[in-house]
Symmetry: C2
């Protein structure tokens, strides 16, 4: 297979369940992209390099191409461990670890995650999205909300991660909607916005009622024939509302930027806007690429 | 197979994941017991009668034996639907449905569950445990807490179910401990009591923090090497503490009787005792059998 793609470097977003690769040209331009399901969770130690080569082989030529990765690939159970940097710290300004590879055509660099001692918390990958926000808005002072399997709430000031916290909302939604007794009630993908809004409001005013409110979704369906879209909206609203109750000190009176998959960003920004919070929205890929590009600029200056 | 067991009637506790049968003699005595994994969730419509006969065949003879069942066997997706009775109502004093069977050696009766219109809630099987409490303590005025996959909190007065509510705590614990990212932290069966107590107290004072507290279990393990027993104690304590925060109007200033599997009863009664609540403890089987016996007495008077 012949190709004209000759990247200056290759950016990798390598998480638990996915591997996304970008052939990068000058000034953060993307020449080509590729992705696979070879996430960290699906690979054994010897599987990482072959999985990477399968994806980026078409972009490799005679010389050595630098490859810069963020995400769970740097976890203890990943390819090579990149120890956490303690917060507060400046994302995008971290020396990566540079482990050996078998194939001489790549020079691998893995960015570290960030830890917080108290309350104990960790992130891997999201710090690169923070770097993307800082690359785009160097003066940003406020909070970044990154919903996903685990939502991160990150306080940013003076281009630093000041503090952060994690909520397992996405994972709880997946387990409850897919495997609990509520699976009978919330089938399909439709989500009723009014039911969502009411559930968010219910949790923000009475957050201690979550445990009983969840089973109420099932009972409403059995007794009153509540539809799947309303039930799904209520489940999503209860969990996001409970998260907003838990993270109130992070968003109350703050500028909030929400970054992630568009459907999730829409739900979080809707819930925050209902509380009078000014919200900017971004998609996660844009932020990750901007952050990897900032980290690459820092790294190439270091390498010179 | 010859046997000396000649039951006056057969009691069935037929739930989602189990079928328990009791050959009953006079005055609530148990002549023999048998159980299988043929719960409602594992059977199709034509499977119920054969599953029952496999279990009780040794107790059947020439005549017809009455069989009285409670639990999910009477749900819409069960063998025959026994429509809910609306609360308030007297458990153990309900006419069962009496559907036809193919085998003339059994006369089947299924007890109805109980529903509550607002807040919407339902129970099937637990109403028979309530009947067991009333059979044992006819003057009981207080709250019955029945922890399990779904914990029921039931306000009882004047031998009636006045109101009730359900928390999905057991199911959430199983999903989070078995399938979420926390599974890496809470392995094994040991549970640290001090970590449990602290987590219950944390949730009762700040119930809105559940969403962030859960991920903290994982982060504590990664950063500070917290052990599995402590992590398991904290997960259990966070969820039970959040449930106690949600059900405070049910237990504050009330007499509480906790009924269920001994390990769960111990955790709930410990958490409630720490709040100064007087607690009686019972095992679930004792209550179910006493309730089925009360219902049988009522039914045999009706049949005469």
């Amino acid at each position: 297979m012949s190709t004209a793609i000759k990247p200056a470097w290759i950016a990798l977003d390598w998480g638990t369940s996915h591997l996304r690769a970008y052939a990068m040209g000058p000034r953060g331009t993307v020449l080509a992209r590729a992705q696979s399901a070879d996430g960290m969770g699906a690979l054994t130690l010897v599987g990482f390099e072959p999985a990477l080569l399968r994806l980026i082989e078409p972009w490799l030529g005679q010389g050595t191409v630098p490859v810069l990765a963020c995400g769970m690939v740097g976890a203890k159970q990943g390819w090579f461990e990149a120890p956490y940097r303690p917060a507060p710290c400046k994302p995008g300004m971290a020396p990566p670890i540079t482990p050996p590879t078998n194939d001489p055509r790549i020079a691998l660099h893995i960015l570290p995650g960030v830890s917080q001692a108290k309350p104990a918390d960790v992130m891997r990958g999201e710090e690169t999205q923070v770097a993307g926000v800082i690359a785009e808005q160097p003066q940003f002072d406020g909070v970044l909300c990154l919903p996903g399997t685990h939502t991160k709430w990150i306080h940013i000031s003076a281009a630093e991660i000041v503090s952060f916290q994690t909520a397992m909302t996405g994972e709880m939604f997946a387990l409850l909607a897919g495997q609990s007794v509520l699976r009978h009630s919330v089938g399909g993908d439709d989500l009723d916005q009014a039911a969502f809004d009411q559930a968010v409001a219910d949790m923000l005013s009475r957050p201690e009622r979550l445990a009983q409110a969840l089973f109420g979704i099932r009972a409403e369906g059995l007794l009153h024939g509540t539809g799947a879209a309303q039930s799904r909206g209520r489940l999503s609203g209860l969990l996001i509302g409970a998260e907003l109750a838990a993270t109130r000190p992070y968003w109350l009176g703050q500028n909030v930027l929400v970054g992630g998959a568009p459907a999730l960003v829409a739900l979080y920004s809707r819930a925050l806007a209902a509380q009078g919070v000014p919200v900017q929205c971004r998609d996660a890929e844009t932020l990750t690429l901007a952050g990897l590009t900032l980290a690459w600029t820092f790294l190439s200056e270091t390498l010179q």
